[in-house]
Subunit: 299 residues, 2 copies
Amino acid sequence: MSTLDWIAVDWGTTHCRAWAIGPSGQVLSEASSSDGMGGLRPDQFEAALLNLVEPWLDVTTVDVVACGMVGSRQGWVEAPYAQVPCAPADTETVLAPTKDVRLRVQIVPGLKQIDPADVMRGEETQIAGALSLSPNFDGVMVLPGTHSKWVQISADEVVSFRSFMTGEMFGLLSRASVLKHSMDDGWDGAAFSEAVEETLSRPESLASKLFSIRAETLLKGLPGAAARARLSGLLIGAELAATKPYWLGMPVSILGADALGDAYGAALAAQGIEAKMIAPVDATLAGLSAARMKQKETT
Amino acid sequence: MSTLDWIAVDWGTTHCRAWAIGPSGQVLSEASSSDGMGGLRPDQFEAALLNLVEPWLDVTTVDVVACGMVGSRQGWVEAPYAQVPCAPADTETVLAPTKDVRLRVQIVPGLKQIDPADVMRGEETQIAGALSLSPNFDGVMVLPGTHSKWVQISADEVVSFRSFMTGEMFGLLSRASVLKHSMDDGWDGAAFSEAVEETLSRPESLASKLFSIRAETLLKGLPGAAARARLSGLLIGAELAATKPYWLGMPVSILGADALGDAYGAALAAQGIEAKMIAPVDATLAGLSAARMKQKETT
């Protein structure tokens, strides 16, 4: 791959995704594996990375810029959190130890907030990328996912943020709780919207309405698609109730793809918020690129 | 066991517990196994029961009265729900099919509520038993557990009830979510009380405060005992917020044992509610005994 300029890597708890980037910023190739941070010891990261990117390498040293849980204390090398308020990727990257001289691996630090206590790793790169794609954005970015984030942006800085376990709770409740017997893989948009409205207006009702999904299956034959959409809606509605000070009357961008991003968009639209959708992959690549440019300037 | 009069059985999703009862109502012996309803086909229940109670049998036919998920559609035989408002164990028991002539097995039906949809199986027997132990009780019974129940009692009837997934959520979040890394087996009463107060006063904050347990571990070294108590407190506080119309200014009995019953008691005491504690086993046995007496009257 003679035109390879650098390699971008998004390395989370359960997956690793790499892109070969050309001199003009174009994606030449990509590869991914399930070698997530959660399954690797520190001395196994280099081999896991080579397993993905070796076909792209020749004899020269290539810059690799990685974000995500790879920089946690249990990761390849710890990249200590930067503290908000700050620009989302304004801290220097941390060099990971490598044996292969063809790799020069830089890891982007995450962000922390002291009060209320909160952390992110990987999302700061997406936020930086979204800001480079939408300069001067002032408002709120929503990053749906396992641990969704609501991020207040002003003057190119992350002012504050809050994380929610909505995605992880949906996964646990839909696959491992008594509610699993009520679900199928379908979706019912009307049931979702109704459930969002219920917990957004009465967040304290979440705890009892979860079990009622099971009871409605038993007593009223609630269809599996409606049950699944209802569970998602109850959880996202409760998240919207908690984040109302973030989104009410504010410009909102959703860094979300596929059905989950659409669900957040629909929930916000019902509240009169027309959120801008940004593809997370675009944001990640733009953020890693910005981190690399900054790194080149400072070295 | 010449003095055996009848056999009481509490048969849930994950366990089966049986008691040999003498003529004056005394417990002669007890036995339990992990042959819960969840792991048995309908044709396997009789053998699972005999495995527990055969040492107690001679040649005569013995009455067995069972409550719990054994009467669900996936159980030994379906005992259709009685609909509230009604007395908690006022419906006729259902005879389960047996081959062994020494067994005559009666199953107590559960209760259902149409709007909001809700169901219980097993708890109705505990409630009936608690009522026989506290005649003329008028108020609210709380049954902590995997799916905790809040039950409004008036004139010896269940007027309404609501179920909460608090126990199951605690289990999933403490053992299977990112929060498991923050927990140990300890307990911190002050952290529990503080967390109850937080979500009771601001139930919408539950969603964000869950993740903050992880962040406080990472950033502030939150001890494992405090993290575990805090998770429990956030969930129980949200449950108390949802059930405020049930308990505010009402006599409350908690049918709960051990640490979990104590936790609910402490949470209510902080709100000025001095709940009466009733041992669930006592309530179950009294309820099964009442169901048997009623059965004998009607046959």
